[in-house]
Symmetry: C2
Subunit: 313 residues, 2 copies
């Protein structure tokens, strides 16, 4: 059972909404933040005020968060960051914390740590990103993260979190019939053919099956309707796209460089994504029903973000 | 009834606890913040992360907050400030907001507003304070605020909020018997004698009674046991004193320049205050019972801060 539990976690890919509201906290919605669990790694996308409280409420083991990505420097996307950094410090964190954002974010963090005379007990590694480029900013054997240039009032980017392919699965009938040394397993899983003691060659394609297809999650935090997004996020399994306004507020959306629910759905439709989750609802909407209805007219497989909601990919 | 309601508000003096926890948000307690309502003015003492959410939960009309006082630059006392400033902006605030803190706080505010490209729609007036001095930093006809130098790891001060005396009350029997022109009322209430049409002098002391005694609230945010506080806060009606630890953690308290519940009570006792409220409880105390018990052994009239608790003076 322990092994099963471990396996389930190593393949789990899920997004938990920590804050689904827009700039002004209202209607019980926190400002933007999402936790991504991917193959036993925890990543945080944005970190609005109150994120550390939401994490304590919804997520066990928050010190496991290894990477934090900040989409832009509007307060509702990062005012909880320095508090979280400080709490990690007070809780005696050991592991490095990797933070990705525009260079100005580092200035803001450093100034506050300086004036509180805090010398962090763990390594904080800041990685500058260029929000105008679509590029891979993190890559390891389990996942990679790529930026998505967005169109907002200040430099802003979203993020795609993608699984790396798992190794191939060895066919059970082959293991049962051929005499395969255990130390050949990893090579076969990596794609090698197998040659037995008699010199007989078993081509890899005949002794393995494809691993599960990799999945991707795209997070488009704050943006106006922006078609260049479509090519970058094409085919992701799950897309989060902001939907600050309903259609009758299209003018406000344009002016403030935000999107309507319909626009979010149009992006989802054009990009052929699996599912769409909308959020960043303006404080005027106590209930996101109208936004959900408008999005579903264009892209039926749409859900509304709620604080605490976990979506499995 | 409207007049009565107005009167009750103009004389109301109350403290609402918005955050009663220490550095790490835990046990459902927000970090430090308190709202003081004094004669229809709203003042905020400290502004930890999540203060704007707590304000929305507990306080109607938050735009009425006119003054914010920040005791020191540890994050649990001010990480909610820039979020609140931004929300006031987004909500179209008009009235000036007065902020009191060490000069470095202004740097922190300015940097974040700059990088979010926010030009506030209302006047933000920053007032530098010197936390090493006990001095009046705000004074008007209704109240005054004085700093209390505290002893913590970084420069820190508390605040005393005091009512200004109301005018004298004119005796009903005098108004009923003498022929007093309405335009003399204010002079008499301010302390003048009254001379009637025949030249008869009514000494003020015989025609008025004393107004209610003024009340004071002292807020001692983060400090080790520090006897110089006693003389500054002597006789206040209500004292808030931090009580981060129970007595068995006295060593931690000394090291971290925090106070135990007993030490808070000893300050209250020596200063002869009316009541004591303790708070800033370490995350280790799920329930502040032990802290309350220890304080009450020394100063019986002690209560424990709880988020949302309002204490009338």
């Amino acid at each position: 059972l322990g092994v099963l539990f471990y396996y389930l976690h190593t393949v789990r890919f899920a997004v938990t909404i920590l804050g689904s509201g827009a700039a002004i906290p209202a209607n019980g919605r926190n400002p933007s933040s999402q936790l991504v669990e991917i193959r036993n790694h925890l990543l945080l996308l944005d970190c609005g005020e109150g994120t550390q409280m939401a994490l304590r409420k919804f997520v066990p083991g928050i010190q496991r968060i290894s990477h934090i990505f900040i989409s832009h420097l509007h307060g509702d996307h990062f005012y909880g960051l320095v508090g979280l950094i400080s709490s990690f410090h007070l809780l005696g964190r050991i592991n490095p914390l990797h933070i990705y954002g525009v260079p100005e974010l580092k200035e803001i963090i450093d100034l506050q740590l300086k004036h509180s005379r805090t010398e962090l007990v763990y390594p904080l590694e800041f990685h500058e990103i260029d929000p105008d480029k679509a590029e891979i900013i993190v890559e390891n054997e389990h996942f990679f993260v790529k930026t998505i240039p967005l169109n907002h009032r200040i430099p802003t980017c979203g993020f795609i979190v993608s699984e790396k392919p798992l190794k191939r699965n060895i066919r059970k009938d082959f293991v049962n019939t051929a005499d395969v040394p255990v130390n050949s397993f990893e090579k076969i899983r990596a794609g090698a053919d197998f040659v037995d003691a008699d010199g007989k060659v078993y081509p890899n394609s005949s002794i393995t099956t494809d691993p599960p297809r990799t999945k991707s999650y795209a997070y488009c935090s704050d943006t106006t309707y922006h078609e260049p997004i479509v090519n970058i996020i094409r085919g992701v399994n799950l897309l989060y796209h902001e939907a600050t306004f309903a259609n009758d507020k299209q003018k406000d959306a344009k002016e403030k460089l935000h999107a309507t629910a319909r626009e979010a759905a149009r992006i989802a439709l054009q990009a052929g994504v699996g599912r769409l989750v909308i959020g960043h609802f303006s404080a005027r909407y106590r209930d996101p029903e109208i936004l959900l209805d408008e999005a579903r007219e264009i892209f039926p497989d749409t859900i509304a973000a709620e604080d605490g909601l976990t979506i499995e990919l």
